[in-house]
Symmetry: C2
Subunit: 288 residues, 2 copies
Amino acid sequence: MDERAALGVLGERLSAAGDDCAIVDGQVLTTDMLHETTDFPEGTTRYTAGWRAVGASLSDVAAMGAEATAAVAVYGAPTFDETELLAFVDGASDVCSAVDAEYVGGDLDDHAEFTTATTALGRTDDPVRRSGASPGEAVCVTGTLGRSGAALELFEAGETERANELFRFEPRVRAGTGLAPHATAMMDSSDGLARSVHQLCAASDCGAAIESPLPIDDAVDAVASDERERRELGAFFGEDFELVCTVPEADLPAARAAVSCPLTRIGTTTADGVTLDGEPLPDRGYSH
Amino acid sequence: MDERAALGVLGERLSAAGDDCAIVDGQVLTTDMLHETTDFPEGTTRYTAGWRAVGASLSDVAAMGAEATAAVAVYGAPTFDETELLAFVDGASDVCSAVDAEYVGGDLDDHAEFTTATTALGRTDDPVRRSGASPGEAVCVTGTLGRSGAALELFEAGETERANELFRFEPRVRAGTGLAPHATAMMDSSDGLARSVHQLCAASDCGAAIESPLPIDDAVDAVASDERERRELGAFFGEDFELVCTVPEADLPAARAAVSCPLTRIGTTTADGVTLDGEPLPDRGYSH
């Protein structure tokens, strides 16, 4: 059974699962595990790892339209080097500070592979789920797409300083709370834009017609050798942590005014089917 | 740097760390990572693994005297077998139900080694810390000691059914909330009784004179070959999840009345030093 099938099985068993966070008494709770072989390419600093791992969980809080309250992390590694450990903690603390949350510690684990598990807690009386979209609404995305894909190319090319910078993203918590009163459905783009749109449409029982140009990050232009690679990194690669949401047409100006980051309309929800420029948009992306 | 030294470094950096849970706005939050090579001996079922991993985090909630609200877990494994995955989820759900908490899901991770990361959330307006004990108070422990040590011996002997049973403990959440109004300091015994008493005394800046007999579990008697091994499994081995607490003499009857499990007085806090029957009690136990 692959990870997607397994998630499907879990979704049937656990009523609280299946969104970016579980909802518990006016709070949202989410957990993630990242580890060296799949998530932290050679050259990733421990500061970046702490920032990124905790940031991934904070992004799930943002995707519910919640304020971020606190985060914890487990640091699992074969050895505990003081400099590396404190760099991880500093990265974790700094990403929390960036979104007004508190990093409150966690646990250590003696682990053969560098492995982190992060959990974030948020607060909202009115969470935005993936399932509220209807046909005829604007599909929007915050910020730009493809930073992480570009970062991986740069890690491979040995340009680790710039790659680390791109790997440290600011979780869209402020945008999420700003969008919450306007968005009918929301999730983060951690599995890639294409898969995220598919997931949101599946949860909402609708479709979406996406139109280019997509807001692809300049960093992608700097590494992509052609338009195909540019689109691959921007639309499919994933591991980006932008918000994908649907907003009724009439609310779009208010939604834009409510966020300080770019909010790009990339399409319109439809009755069914997910297309890009009129062609079917494959449901593929990053599985993790 | 070993794990204890690393925890010391973290405690200096993070003001919210250093107790069984972090305290956030009337809530307590804790996270743990367990994995195959160190925590789940051959023969541990996935049901037991789910129960035990989530139970370990719920035990930390209990140790703060908090009600348990919810838990999440990451299931990391090389393959996702539906039967194993659902068994894990059932174990996680059942241990939550046993303490009136809700298991609300988590994440999957494709991981070379079977690895779980669990997080539990609890609620209390008046958390019991490790640091509140004073000389002259009763030192008490809930339940019996050594179940996990005995279980490991049984796993090695191939008696996996009984070993799995012993590995599934009921987190002491009810005892924790019952003890909270009476206890001056509390923690769980996951590092072993000896180390737990040392940690509680260090946090409270006091000592403790522990007296035998300790409430060692019958399962230990069934596997220990002599008194030395019995004491080793009961006092030092750890990975038990009982509560160790200090209670003023006058409150002891009320504390006993407030819990439905056994509460054994095992000694008295002193000005300094930790002894067992008058001899120094070594500060050693399970580091994990």
